[in-house]
């Protein structure tokens, strides 16, 4: 089945120690997203890739970086994790068109998430 896969499901890191989370997809979607979700809150978009074009949200801290080496894979790098970065990190994908019409916007699919603990 086509799907969005995230690894690892649980990640423990130390304060200040860089960590990388990975996401892969078999849906062949052109857009990939990273969301951060803290306890009892809604997911919050960090950034997204439209094909190879990186789009950062205005309030995403510089501590968060992303790479998309090919269509299938996307990585989230946290350069110096702080205690406040402990959260669930969700990857999602979507197919977005360029016709300028409503058909450009399609369903977004999420992976199972990576729960990050910072000690």
């Amino acid at each position: 089945d086509a799907m969005v896969i995230q690894n690892p499901r649980y990640q423990v890191t130390q304060f200040g120690k860089p960590v990388t989370l990975s996401c892969s997809q078999t849906l062949n979607h052109n857009v990939m997203y990273w969301y951060q979700q803290k306890s009892s809150q809604a997911p919050k978009l960090l950034f997204h890739y439209y094909d190879k074009d990186f789009n950062n949200e205005a309030d995403t801290p510089d501590n968060f970086q992303s790479r998309r080496p090919n269509t299938s894979f996307c990585f989230l790098d946290i350069r110096s994790p702080g205690l406040g970065d402990a959260a669930m990190y969700l990857c999602a994908t979507s197919r977005v068109g360029l016709s300028g019409g409503a058909s450009d916007y399609n369903e977004q699919f999420f992976g199972p998430g990576t729960r990050l603990t910072v000690l």
Partner: protein, 111 residues
């Protein structure tokens, strides 16, 4: 930016009861999705419904785009329906199909 409001914030049901969750949004939308977040944190797609009505088993959803709201109906609720239900929308001129989430409705179904 667009505002997405969900009600009620919390809901407790007895198993077998029916419920209606509401999502109001402050502007026209290009996309609207309903999700169920399970206890393990995964967001499960329920409906992609920018307009109209859809049904999937015990669940159905209706979006009235002209009046800027969507409803999620859960019939004959089961304990496995417990979790958080999110409504999320893509506002007009939404760059990259970015979803804006409501705060969610926490549903608890008691046996």
């Amino acid at each position: 930016g667009i505002q997405v409001e969900q009600s009620p914030p919390d809901l407790i049901l007895q198993e077998g009861a029916n419920s209606t969750l509401r999502c109001n949004f402050s502007d026209s939308v290009n996309n609207l999705q309903w999700f169920h977040q399970n206890p393990w944190g995964q967001l499960i797609n329920l409906f992609y419904i920018p307009s109209g009505t859809k049904q999937n088993g015990r669940l159905s959803a209706t979006t009235v785009a002209t009046e800027r709201y969507s409803l999620l109906y859960i019939s004959s609720s089961q304990t496995t329906d417990s979790g958080v239900y999110f409504c999320a929308v893509v506002p007009p001129f939404g760059n990259g199909n970015k979803l804006v989430f409501g705060a969610g409705t926490i549903l608890r179904v008691k046996s």
